[in-house]
């Protein structure tokens, strides 16, 4: 199995929000995330962005 760099991981994490990743991609991601703190943070942050956009739509702040 190919080991992912952080750069490839960031790209795949983003695509994981937009399409169903292939089995091999999911395994490679899980392996990388298990050993990489930075990418785990990015994963959470990408997912948080979706929540944040929804919160903005419900608020008065967005004009």
């Amino acid at each position: 199995m190919k080991l992912l760099s952080c750069k490839e991981t960031s790209r795949l994490l983003s695509q994981g929000e937009d399409r169903k990743l292939a089995f091999g991609e999911r395994v490679a991601l899980r392996v990388h995330l298990a050993i990489c703190n930075g990418c785990r943070n990015v994963d959470k942050q990408f997912r948080f962005l979706r929540q944040a956009v929804h919160a903005l739509a419900e608020s008065d702040a967005g004009k």
């Binding site: 750069k7 930075g38 990418c39 943070n41 990015v42 979706r50 919160a55 739509a57 419900e58 967005g62």
Partner: protein
């Protein structure tokens, strides 16, 4: 949060139905503005939505939530507007905006982080704070226009990537590049302007 509205038939009391619809105008305007970032275009989309809703009141009968119904109509109007705009200025004509190497300097030659991304503390707590949402709005407005459009079609309108591609006439790969770019830019912007501040 989703205010509940009475679901009695709009045809029974048209004046009341009209009042309820008008009451949702500010929400709809905000919804449209977030995507279109153009006050006049947002106003037009909302106006068309309200007219369509009044004309199609019978279509609402029996539905649970007026806001959800109106938002559904508004989404179509917004996409119509985007389609018109992108016919006038096709997104495929973008140059640097779609480049994959945009954020290359975040990584070293082997593709590892130059600077490891920090954890964000209690991000959910920020969601209820006006200042945080204002910071997010500022970060969104700092995105290149077409990148922001694709990102908001995905995250705000909740469209699937194939629909977005079809509307904008771009390839899925191009779409994913732009979405990754948007998420990375927003992540860095929020890190600088919110989560990284002590």
């Amino acid at each position: 949060m989703g205010a509940r509205f009475r679901t009695s038939s709009p045809l029974a009391d048209p004046a009341d139905f009209r009042r309820q619809i008008e009451g949702l105008r500010p929400y709809l305007l905000r919804y449209a503005s977030l995507q279109l970032r153009d006050a006049a275009a947002a106003e037009d989309a909302v106006q068309e939505t309200l007219l369509a809703a009044l004309a199609g009141a019978a279509g609402f009968a029996g539905r649970a939530n007026l806001r959800t119904w109106l938002t559904g109509i508004l989404k179509h109007k917004i996409v119509d507007t985007i389609r018109r705009q992108s016919r006038e200025r096709p997104i495929s004509e973008l140059g640097a905006e779609g480049r994959e190497d945009e954020f290359d300097d975040l990584f070293d030659a082997r593709g590892h982080w130059e600077e490891t991304p920090d954890a964000w503390e209690q991000p959910e707590g920020a969601l209820g704070q006006k200042q945080f949402l204002a910071a997010l709005d500022t970060c969104l407005q700092a995105l290149p226009k077409r990148t922001a459009r694709v990102f908001m079609m995905r995250e705000h309108l909740g469209m699937e990537t194939p629909e977005i591609c079809k509307e904008l006439g771009i390839t899925p790969t191009h779409c994913w590049v732009m979405l990754h770019r948007a998420r990375t830019a927003l992540r860095l912007c929020l890190q600088t302007n919110w989560f990284g501040k002590s």
